[in-house]
């Protein structure tokens, strides 16, 4: 049993850093939806390649794209072999692969690269549901709290019995580790609850402690970015 935890955060491009996090989220959604809406037509996708290619020049994401393309190439092979007509399956697969790359580049550069702190601020200012926002941030926190516990538990299991060939036994160990982690998580959650209650004065449970997002300021360039994305999307889909 191995735990694979390889963070693959994209690097934030200098050219995108000047824009407000909200503008970046909205722009990414407009561009991705417009590319996703395109028909299975190769001509359309050549025009759709413009923005992702420009983004690739300023913010290269080769390693992550290689990982994504492994799944994409597997899907391409499946489509080529499973469609009634071999050629149409291959063309549809290539178009799917291109769409996957274009949309992924847009989301990686516009959203994932800005980091969790800015993204949290964007969610806060975009008025995402309070409970959902707190749940996302606490889940992220929980992942970093529990990761070491999981690694220790797996290491302990390996030290006790390195060569376990029986699948049943491996599954039993896994269930045990998961069960223990759940119980310890619940205990940890109770402590977090108490801390949150104390911060709010101990009378009423509120989520005020989570309303400390980074201050964002909307400028003219942000409006222009969204306008440009809208024009590009309209040309792509209707011209």
């Amino acid at each position: 049993m191995n735990l694979e935890f390889n963070l693959s955060l994209a690097q934030d491009a200098k050219i995108l850093k000047i824009f407000d996090a909200r503008a970046r989220v909205i722009c990414a959604l407009i561009l991705a939806i417009s590319i996703s809406r395109l028909d299975f037509n190769l001509n359309n996708l050549i025009y759709a390649a413009i923005v992702p290619l420009i983004l690739l020049i300023f913010a290269p994401v080769p390693k992550i794209l290689a990982h994504l393309n492994l799944a994409g190439i597997f899907m391409l092979a499946l489509m080529t072999l499973s469609f009634k007509d071999f050629n149409s399956g291959f063309i549809a697969g290539v178009i799917m692969l291109l769409k996957l790359n274009f949309i992924s580049i847009i989301f990686l550069d516009f959203i994932a690269a800005m980091g969790i702190k800015k993204f949290y601020a964007a969610l806060y200012y975009l008025k995402l549901n309070n409970k959902l926002r707190v749940l996302i941030i606490l889940t992220l926190r929980g992942i970093f709290i529990l990761i070491n516990r999981f690694i220790c538990a797996l290491r302990a299991a390996k030290l006790r019995a390195n060569n376990i060939n029986s699948l049943k036994l491996r599954l039993k160990i896994f269930a045990c580790i998961l069960g223990m982690s759940l119980i310890k998580s619940a205990a940890r959650a109770d402590k977090i609850n108490t801390a949150m209650l104390l911060r709010s004065g101990g009378e009423k449970f509120n989520l005020q402690g989570f309303n400390q997002a980074e201050i964002l300021t909307w400028r003219t360039c942000d409006s222009l970015l969204i306008l440009a994305a809208l024009i590009y999307a309209l040309i792509l889909n209707y011209a």
Partner: protein, 198 residues
Amino acid sequence: MHISEGVLSTQVLIAGWAASGVGVYIGLKKLEPDKIARTALVASAFFLASLIHFKLGPSSAHLTLIAPAGLLLGWQVFPAVLAALFLQAILFNFGGFLVLGANLFIMAAPGLAAYLIFKKLIINNENKFAVVYAFIAGALAVLLAALLAGAALAMSNHEFINIAKILFAANLPLALIEGIITALLISWLKRAAPEFLA
């Protein structure tokens, strides 16, 4: 079980977001503020457990743990899985943001089904029978998720039907393993921490 970006049609993406939106709305309505931390930590435990790879003969597999998450979280499985998938998209670039709605429904709806059908049966029965119900819940949840993923693919393009069949067949061994894990976990929790299931 993740569907990548660029595969599903716009209609299916919208349907996925709409269906998931309803689930997330109800889940958040039922989520009391003092239960947020517990839901988040349970979600992160499942998130990490699903990253553990098992050696299965020459290859390896990682589990989805849909049914245990559903059985422990109930309706809150929708916001919890949303948070987990969302973080997966940001931290590991699995799945994607546009396809998040469809992926969320594929993963959370079977968990909710496991909760609605099997939760009472597991609580009210003795350990022996509860383990059997947990096994069925675990296996069925994976098969239902594979069925939903296949349906989403087939609705996007009728030529995807063959891929949907392959996807379903590929998930049969995983369903068996998930069933065993769910049964072992429920048996463990029933003995060690029965209040966790209440």
